[in-house]
Symmetry: C2
């Protein structure tokens, strides 16, 4: 119905799994089933679509992390739920791959949107670490900001390693190791 929405949804999926620079407008049009005229009417330049996609994928990721944490009894359980984000790592992180995409980094608005998404995720995790320390499920000795950063890095790294090796089990090993350290 709404071609603009069809374009964005296709681009979100394609930029996520195949990369921004390595996906052409033509591929997006084909996937969305819209013509060139429609595409360039809604997005004068590819970067305009990219900006929208980085923002939406960032929001989606934060929302899915919040959803995965919902209903968990302790702060530690919520952190465990976050580590589960790497449970299907072969497709790559919704936004992590953009950090290595020269086409994203070359465009200041896209770069800023990417940084903002990571900052929001870090802040969310830090607040959950504090909750976990408050309810006694995680050691009070840990620095909340650094612990949150480490957990986010483990998950992002797990995506990288899984894609590099082609084996999901390498991501699972990383998150299991991180959990053991957290509980240690």
């Amino acid at each position: 119905m709404d071609n603009r929405r069809l374009i964005i949804d296709s681009a979100k999926k394609l930029f996520w799994h195949r990369g921004y620079s390595t996906t052409s407008p033509k591929q997006v049009m084909a996937d969305a089933g819209v013509g060139q005229g429609s595409f360039y009417h809604h997005f004068p330049a590819k970067a305009d679509l990219g900006h929208e996609v980085v923002q939406e994928n960032g929001r989606d990721l934060v929302a899915s992390v919040r959803a995965a944490m919902e209903g968990k009894a302790t702060g530690r359980d919520r952190l465990v739920a976050f580590l589960g984000s790497a449970g299907d790592a072969l497709g790559g992180c919704q936004i992590g791959g953009f950090a290595y995409d020269a086409g994203i980094l070359a465009e200041p608005p896209l770069r800023e949107a990417l940084g903002a998404a990571f900052t929001e995720l870090t802040d969310l995790l830090e607040s959950v670490v504090r909750e976990a320390q408050a309810d006694g499920s995680v050691s009070a000795k840990l620095d909340p900001a650094q612990t949150a950063a480490a957990l986010l890095a483990v998950v992002e790294g797990a995506f990288v390693i899984a894609r590099a090796t082609g084996r999901q089990s390498t991501a699972d090993a990383a998150t299991a190791g991180a959990l053991a350290l957290l509980d240690g």
Copy 2:
């Protein structure tokens, strides 16, 4: 033989910092200071150069990790030295970015070389975790393979986060947090 080396060295640097798919043969030629005739004489296709680069960057990374660990008194100190690999994260990991590059993943030989490099790093780290447990500098309760995978993931993730936010300090926070967990 000299131009071949110049081409490889330029490509190693450019593919590392700017990505494989987003760097053209022409850019490599310009950086290396060689002409098209020379380039295609040594590397019939871009992927042939890419294969060489993935292998060399993998070997270089393993070698630099080994060098950083050398002379450290305990296994834990060697792991700390490895965490320091993310001390200059804004340029990206020598091989980590390839995991999100569609042009690398689409070529089986490049993909295999990438996976092999990660496997070698993981194996190296696992052996160091075992040494650390043997000398008492790291808890014997930890699973060596999972702990090694987690530490590698932290470092790879630190590169991703630093590039996404544009701030080295976000990588430093992640590795500091990981060290605290390891010592915890």
